[in-house]
C-alpha cells in the first residue's frame, strides 16, 4: 500500500500545468494531497488558483489520465477550496523553472490588512528582477495579463518585456 501511494503520488505530481506547462501541478502547489482508499481508489485533491481559473477541468483530466495510463483502475480527483491557494505554495523548484522560462516568480503573498487601499500609481513597486538580465530596474506595464495569475512587466535595463506571476 505504501508503494502504491508513493507511486501514485509521484505520477500525480508530474502532471504539467495546462497554462504554465513548464511547471508540474506539484511545483504550482495546487496538488494538495494524494491518498489511497481502502478499496484501492487513488484519490487526488486539487485546489484552483483563482475562482474562475478555466484550467481546472484540464488539470483534473490530466491527473486522472496519467494515473489511469499508469494502471490505476479507480481514480478520483476531488476539488478542495480550503485553505485558498496562495503563490507562497509555488515550490523553490517551480520558481526556478519560471525564471528559467522568462517568467519572474512571485514575491511573498501580501497578508490581509484592514487598512487603506494601497494606491501605487507610479512605478514604485517592489523590485522585481528581470528574468532575462537580472536587473532590478523594472516596471509594471499592466497588472493583468494573458492568464489570471500573471502581470506584464518591462525591464528598463535590457528593454525586454516579461511576465510576472503576481503574488496572491
Amino acid at each position: 500500500m505504501v508503494t502504491v501511494l508513493t507511486d501514485a503520488r509521484r505520477i500525480a505530481e508530474q502532471v504539467p500545468d495546462p497554462e504554465l506547462p513548464m511547471l508540474t501541478l506539484a511545483d504550482l502547489g495546487v496538488l494538495r494531497d494524494v491518498t489511497v482508499a481502502a478499496d484501492g481508489t487513488v484519490v487526488a485533491a486539487l485546489t484552483p488558483t483563482y475562482s474562475g481559473c478555466p484550467a481546472m477541468p484540464e488539470m483534473r483530466a490530466g491527473v486522472a489520465a496519467r494515473l489511469k495510463d499508469a494502471g490505476y483502475e479507480r481514480v478520483e480527483v476531488r476539488t478542495v477550496l480550503d485553505p485558498p491557494w496562495t503563490t507562497d505554495w509555488i515550490t523553490p523548484e517551480g520558481r526556478r523553472k519560471l525564471a528559467e522560462h522568462g517568467i519572474a516568480p512571485p514575491g511573498p503573498a501580501p497578508r490581509p490588512s484592514p487598512g487603506p487601499v494601497p494606491l501605487s500609481l507610479s512605478a514604485t513597486h517592489r523590485a522585481v528582477s528581470c528574468p532575462r538580465c537580472g536587473a532590478t530596474d523594472t516596471e509594471e506595464t499592466s497588472r493583468f495579463g494573458a492568464t489570471s495569475c500573471k502581470a506584464l512587466w518591462r525591464c528598463r535595463a535590457c528593454q525586454e518585456p516579461f511576465e510576472y506571476v503576481k503574488e496572491i
Binding site: G52, P112, L119
Partner: protein, 276 residues
C-alpha cells in the same frame, strides 16, 4: 512535451472523462467537495444567500465582459475581462453550492441560463449599462468594496463551503478594489475632462448605495474606501441618498436586466439539452 499532453487530454477519450471542447455540461465546479450541510444551518437561508451573491457576480461579470473590444486600451480590456472571470468563477461556485443545499440538485447552468429576469436577485447597480469608463470604474470600486466586506464576514460562515468560497473571493476582490481605486485617482487627479467624468460616475453610482447597504450593511467599510480614494483623487465625497426606488434583491429590476440576460442566455436556450 506538455503542450502535446494538454491536447491529448482534450482529444483522447479516457472513459467518462472524454471531452473535446469547451462548453457547458462538463463539470461541477464543486466536484468532489462534500455537499453536506452542517447541523443548525438553515438550508433555505443558505441557498438564498448563495443565490443572491451568485447573481450579483454573474451579472457583474457579464457587464465587464461587454468591455471586451471596447475598452480604452488593450491593457484595460484584459484587466476588466480578468476581473469578470474572477466574478464568473465565484458565481459558478455559489450556484453549485445553491444547487446542493436548496433540495433541487440543479446544476449551475439551471440558475444562470434558465431563470428569467424576475427570478434574479442581483442588486440593480450590477445590471446598469456600462456607461463610460469612469462609471464602470466607480461601480467596480463600490461593488468590490461592498462585496469584499460581505465576503470577509462570510469567511466565518457556519457553512464550510460558503466560508471557503468567501476566503478565496476575498483575495480576488481586494485586487479588484485596488485596480478600481487607482483608476479613480488617475481620472480624478487627471485632466479637467477626466475629473468631470469621474465625479459624474461616482455620483451616479452613489445613488445606488442605499440599495447596497440595505442588502448588506457595509456602510462603514464602503464609505471609508470612498473617503480615502476621493480624497487622494481630489474629488468630493458623493452624497449618499438614504433610500433608492427599488431593490433588485426583491426582484425589482431596471429595464436593463432583461436584455442583458437575453444575450447571456441565448445559446443555452436555443439548444436547451445540448452538451459539448
Amino acid at each position: 512535451m506538455s503542450d502535446d499532453h494538454v491536447y491529448m487530454t482534450l482529444a483522447e477519450g479516457h472513459e467518462d472523462d472524454a471531452r473535446w471542447a469547451y462548453g457547458t455540461g462538463f463539470e461541477d465546479p464543486l466536484h468532489g467537495v462534500s455537499s453536506a450541510v452542517p447541523d443548525g444551518v438553515d438550508r433555505a437561508e443558505l441557498a438564498a444567500l448563495c443565490l443572491v451573491l451568485a447573481d450579483d457576480a454573474l451579472v457583474g461579470a457579464q457587464r465587464l465582459a461587454e468591455w471586451t473590444t471596447r475598452a480604452p486600451e488593450l491593457e484595460e480590456e484584459v484587466a476588466l475581462a480578468n476581473i469578470g472571470l474572477d466574478l464568473l468563477g465565484q458565481a459558478r461556485l455559489l450556484y453549485a453550492r445553491c444547487g446542493q443545499v436548496d433540495g433541487t440538485e440543479r446544476g449551475e447552468d439551471a440558475y444562470a441560463y434558465f431563470r428569467d429576469a424576475d427570478d434574479f436577485r442581483n442588486v440593480r447597480l450590477a445590471e446598469l449599462p456600462n456607461g463610460d469608463f469612469a462609471f464602470t470604474i466607480a461601480r467596480l470600486l463600490v461593488f468590490a468594496s461592498w462585496r469584499l466586506a460581505h465576503f470577509e464576514r462570510l469567511t466565518a460562515s457556519a457553512d464550510p463551503v460558503l466560508a471557503a468560497i468567501a476566503a478565496k473571493g476575498v483575495k480576488e476582490l481586494t485586487y479588484h478594489r485596488q485596480y478600481a481605486a487607482e483608476w479613480v485617482v488617475r481620472l480624478g487627479d487627471g485632466t479637467a475632462e477626466s475629473h468631470r467624468r469621474m465625479r459624474a460616475g461616482l455620483d451616479d453610482v452613489a445613488a445606488h448605495l442605499g440599495e447596497l447597504f440595505e442588502a448588506h450593511d457595509a456602510r462603514t467599510e464602503v464609505l471609508a474606501v470612498l473617503r480615502q480614494v476621493t480624497t487622494a483623487a481630489g474629488l468630493p465625497l458623493p452624497d449618499v441618498p438614504p433610500q433608492t426606488a427599488g431593490s433588485g434583491r426583491e426582484g425589482n429590476h431596471t429595464e436593463h436586466l432583461a436584455p442583458l440576460l437575453t444575450e447571456l442566455q441565448s445559446v443555452a436556450r436555443a439548444h436547451p439539452e445540448a452538451t459539448w
